[in-house]
Symmetry: C2
Subunit: 313 residues, 2 copies
Amino acid sequence: MDASSRRLVAMRLLVVDGGATGTDVALCVDGRIAARAELPSVKPLRGDLRTDQLCLMLGSFLGTHTAVDEADVMLDGVIVGMAGVWSERERYEYSDAFMSAWTQYVSTDHVPLVLLSDAELLLTSAFGTDVGAVLIGGTGSMMLMRDADGLLQRVGGWGHAVDDAGGGYWLGRRASGAVARMLDGRGPETLLIRPVASLLRVDADDHDAVRNALRRSDPSRMARLAQAVLYYADEGDAAAIEIRQEGARELALLLQNVPANVEVVLYGSLFESQTYRELVERLAARPLPKLHDVIGVLVDRIHRAGQLPTTSV
Amino acid sequence: MDASSRRLVAMRLLVVDGGATGTDVALCVDGRIAARAELPSVKPLRGDLRTDQLCLMLGSFLGTHTAVDEADVMLDGVIVGMAGVWSERERYEYSDAFMSAWTQYVSTDHVPLVLLSDAELLLTSAFGTDVGAVLIGGTGSMMLMRDADGLLQRVGGWGHAVDDAGGGYWLGRRASGAVARMLDGRGPETLLIRPVASLLRVDADDHDAVRNALRRSDPSRMARLAQAVLYYADEGDAAAIEIRQEGARELALLLQNVPANVEVVLYGSLFESQTYRELVERLAARPLPKLHDVIGVLVDRIHRAGQLPTTSV
């Protein structure tokens, strides 16, 4: 069997989908997922790329899941889609750090690495190298499109310090703000005080306790309130409904410049809320089907194409 | 001379106004400011009250400014107004840490400490123990009122993670967001790209550089854009005007529940913009004079009253 036909028959790939809240890892053999794990997030931080942590986990995953009776345990490729790795410089620094950590913690055998941003992994999963766009609603929000010239266009994805309208962190911060305004007497009563108090581990009826805890709360945990906002909106809470409406409008706005003939798929935990998904769909005035399993669809696509995706900026 | 008349004649006070961006310190003798310094902020951080840093600076300040030929260099009191010290527990922890740092770095002589939040110091400066309210527009925003029952009412002041509408950080974040939306093609062109690029130390004409730098920017620096937003609004930039308008509306909303017969004064760097001040005044539909020198007015008030203010929650 020569190398290229071996690739088509029994390509062994490690695929990593690294987001802000988790790392989805799968070992794929011959177009099927042989082993899979949901691990903690190792999204690069300011000043720490966290490739050591990632490769320690990958080494442990592979060590646990590689069948001992297989003669050939070499990988044909590692595909990494990682949040926060976007610009050319970030890619260069990250792949450098990744390969050095891989050599240290996983294997000294050479392995081809395909490094993408997590959004690009998603786009590749949904459309390969064809024209198409994805709208992501997780902790943050962004749109990524491959246009008719094959170029990537990105809208949003700025992080919560600059602009993350309609994303999970944004929904959570709005919920906290609504509770703050209620406690101040400059906003309406809202049941959102319940999930906010629960996140802060205080009694929702003890307003002084909520006030003190909210004022000292850890901002990074706000995104955990997103599902509660969508839930209380479904239950009819006026403040939650207003936040949901504004969030959906902001997500639809991310699609403003996507041509009508370009397909768009949704991805992310926020779209588990059927109402939020339908609201965005209605405001964007276009069909927005959901992509469920990024790695599953990607591996199937790679198997059919018989080759690895390429970094394609 | 007995103790009480000595107090009236030659009371020696150290007054500290500790905010989020600086620490204003003054040594006051007999109702006049004998020495004054503007030092870096030592606002308590999560997990570090920074009282050691404060007392090191105070010891150095007193050592430099106490006249050597004075027989009595004892202080009659230290008045500290400190940002982030609000709840009973925070006051207790802070005064404990302050006195221990004071003993270590300044003097083992007993000195009476009056500890207030920075907003309460401001309120005391403006109104003593009378009814009145202050509206603060600095890095954050808040209203603090002493009501007819002598109780303190606070609105806003939640910090940027929850709600800081109309404050400096908020104005800066909106400016960054406007630039992000402009770069995305989902918002109008704005000259705010100039101060944003300048803050990020990149060329405003190199949009890729602005994009990359903005995505990696340090959120805590956003407040530095506030003055630029107000400046570009004065110059007619549409995005800046919209941000200024919304900010002023939010500040006016903080005054919503302040009775019409209660006097309100403004304080904070944002009101150096005459337009912003007048906009808030018009939206709040009440006169809003500015308080310029918190320590100066406070020391004069103490001198006239012949006694220290008390912690008054």
